[in-house]
């Protein structure tokens, strides 16, 4: 199997996942009890008015037909009309999305870089003071909910030392420039929340890799610690971390809900909360679909990066059923015959690995 087929297959799976997700979202919202038209118009609406609205919303059509229309529309960027404002969903979603990206992208870039570095450092220096400090801080940050981190930051940097505005006073019509002073605190909260998990995964994955035989070989070749870590260990250590990074990046979308709410920041999270509150179904659907898309794209990107990082994935045939289970020969068994202390060493090293957070979806 060539790289190209692997990539194509992976992309195909991603598209299938998106379509399935959109179907789930659509059906789930259809299943919600209550008549949307009735709710919109209130209890005193005349049956005629309700009927007219149903027709204009297309609610009288077959579910599958509506799903098809919706999906085709969504593919063209047409997400329907907001039930609340009466405006098309697309443009307002775009603005909210842009605003969220304004805090999420820097948070992602800083968070991923810093946390991977810290994780690798903690893993390499396992058991020393720097490792304990990094591990402890990440544990605490991970255990305190975002709304608390946000509150504390507001208290410190907006009230005690007023350098940043506590909340955004402008609405969704604010321009990027107007928002700029307000993005810092939300950004910091997002960065912290995301970094804690990546630090822990990167740490445990680094510990695993540092215990592997090829690191011992590199060490006994006379390489310096720096060369061993960055050239030999990091590429392998990053592999298991990639999925976590992808999931965390996707998770930022969930994170923005809380953060944007605390700071009154006009992004996607706030839009999500408002539309849920107002039962603005087309907007909810659009947000869900966009979120799913981001999730899938992030995962796809992680897989493609893994493909680039790991030559084994690139060049080895990975047919799942190439050999039936139970028949896979284990050369390791031969090795185990006489490895003695070396094997025991690897075993304890693996056992010593702390848990890594796989996903927080």
């Amino acid at each position: 199997m060539t790289v190209l087929t692997t990539v194509l297959r992976r992309i195909g799976t991603a598209i299938l996942t998106i379509v399935l997700a959109s179907l789930f979202v659509f059906l789930a919202i259809q299943l919600l009890p209550g008549d949307v038209a009735q709710q919109l118009l209130g209890q005193n609406a005349t049956p005629d008015a309700v009927k007219a609205l149903r027709e204009s919303l297309g609610l009288d059509q077959n579910v599958w037909l509506r799903y098809g229309n919706w999906l085709i529309g969504a593919a063209h960027g047409d997400f329907g009309t907001s039930l609340v404002s009466g405006d098309p969903v697309g443009p307002s979603l775009f603005v909210a999305f842009r605003n969220s990206m304004l805090i999420a992208v820097p948070a992602m870039l800083i968070g991923v870089t810093v946390s991977l570095t810290l994780g690798v450092v903690a893993g390499v220096r396992r058991g020393r003071a720097s490792d304990h400090v990094i591990s402890l801080i990440s544990l605490v940050v991970m255990s305190v909910p975002e709304f608390m981190v946000a509150t504390v930051l507001v208290l410190v940097f907006a009230i005690a030392i007023p350098v940043f505005p506590a909340v955004v006073l402008r609405g969704s019509d604010a321009t990027v420039l107007q928002l700029l002073p307000s993005v810092w605190l939300p950004m910091i909260v997002l960065t912290l929340a995301m970094a804690a998990y990546i630090v822990r995964t990167a740490r445990s994955s680094t510990i695993d890799v540092m215990a592997s035989e090829f690191i011992t070989t590199a060490e006994l070749k006379g390489l310096s610690t720096r060369q061993i870590v960055w050239r030999h260990a990091v590429p392998s250590a990053l592999l298991p971390t990639l999925n976590v990074v992808a999931l965390n990046v996707a998770w930022l979308l969930g994170g923005v809900v809380v953060v944007e709410n605390v700071f009154n920041y006009p992004g996607m999270g706030k839009l999500m909360l408002e539309s849920v509150f107002n039962r603005d179904l087309p907007t909810i659907q659009a947000i869900a679909l966009l979120s799913a898309l981001i999730y899938v794209v992030c995962n796809l990107a992680a897989d493609l990066v893994a493909l680039a990082l790991d030559p084994r994935l690139r060049t080895r045939q990975r047919g799942r059923r190439a050999r039936p289970r139970g028949t896979a020969r284990r050369p390791a068994a031969l090795a185990a015959a006489s490895a003695g202390p070396a094997t025991a060493d690897t075993a304890t090293a693996t056992a010593g690995t702390s848990s890594a957070r796989k996903d927080r979806a």
Binding site: P145, V276, A356
Partner: protein, 297 residues
């Protein structure tokens, strides 16, 4: 079945007990973690006895008081005793977390083991569905469900289950796939055992350690998720004592009565730290490498 041939039940029990407590002695993280969880459970169970005040009774004459003899942590803006509200706030959180985690992990475990063993179209379909479910942000799914069905206990439990069972399925499936390559599973297949018998006898007992770690970890997520929901105003309704809700209510008075916000946060954080430490300690004690399993799933 025919386990005890020579040894008496008592020695067997002792042996088993020793087996269970070995990880405790091996890992301080696990001891502290389980200790924190136990503390929370005890406090939640005994809350009505030790709280001293009704958590929902307001007292307009005694608003935003600091620490006093009758109110150790002071009162909030409605004059409610903060300590009583914190103690009682844990009950709901723990109950929902326990129920939701148990159901989600149970479903995920069985589904993960079965799909891993099936390794056919069924596996393929389940995994695509799992992927699709995972791609919708959990907070959005919960918000929608809660808005529509109201935030009753079972609604939240079921919603959390639907949100988290897919993730558990994926992790357990990854672990089970490594178990399946072991010779004892091959031996069972060669004997002609039924698939379900293989799943329950051979595979499930050997992914239990992974499941245990998964349980502690998911629980910590769920505690945070539920408090977030309350914080956003979609969870517990006022005046129910709830940690997330308390933070939301007292946040504005943070500088006046810091205890109103800090107490529930400390309670929440210690519970989550307890769960996280347990997950860490368990995986260390049981020799599970989650990073690797993630890579194979």
């Amino acid at each position: 079945m025919t386990a005890a041939l020579q040894s008496s039940p008592l020695t067997r029990f002792r042996g088993r007990l020793r087996g269970w407590t070995t990880p405790l002695r091996a890992s301080t993280a696990l001891s502290i973690g389980l200790g924190l969880i136990a503390l929370h459970v005890v406090l939640a169970l005994l809350a009505p006895v030790i709280a001293g005040h009704d958590p929902v009774v307001t007292d307009s004459t005694n608003v935003l008081s600091g620490t006093t003899w009758s109110h150790w942590l002071g009162t909030d803006q409605y004059g409610r005793d903060i300590l009583s509200r914190v103690l009682n706030g844990g009950r709901y959180a723990l109950l929902v977390t326990f129920l939701a985690t148990t159901i989600a992990v149970a479903i995920g475990t069985v589904l993960g083991a079965v799909t891993a063993y099936a390794d056919n179209w069924f596996d393929e379909v389940v995994m695509r569905v799992v992927d699709a479910l995972l791609s919708v942000p959990s907070i959005l799914a919960l918000l929608v469900v809660v808005t529509v069905f109201d935030s009753g206990l079972w609604v939240i439990v079921l919603a959390v289950t639907v949100v988290y069972a897919p993730a558990v399925t994926r992790v357990v499936r990854g672990a089970a796939r490594t178990v399946i390559t072991q010779d004892y599973v091959t031996a069972a297949r060669a004997r002609g055992e039924k698939p379900l018998s293989i799943v329950f006898r051979e595979i499930l007992p050997n992914v239990l350690d992974v499941v245990l770690v998964e349980y502690a970890m998911r629980a910590s997520w769920i505690v945070l998720l539920i408090s977030t929901l309350s914080f956003l105003g979609f969870g517990a309704n006022p005046p129910t004592p709830d940690w997330g809700l308390m933070v939301q209510e007292n946040r504005t008075a943070l500088t006046v009565v810091p205890m109103g916000t800090l107490a529930p946060i400390v309670a929440l954080a210690t519970l989550v730290i307890g769960l996280n430490l347990s997950a860490d300690g368990l995986s260390k004690a049981l020799g599970i490498d989650r990073a690797q399993q993630g890579a194979t799933s």
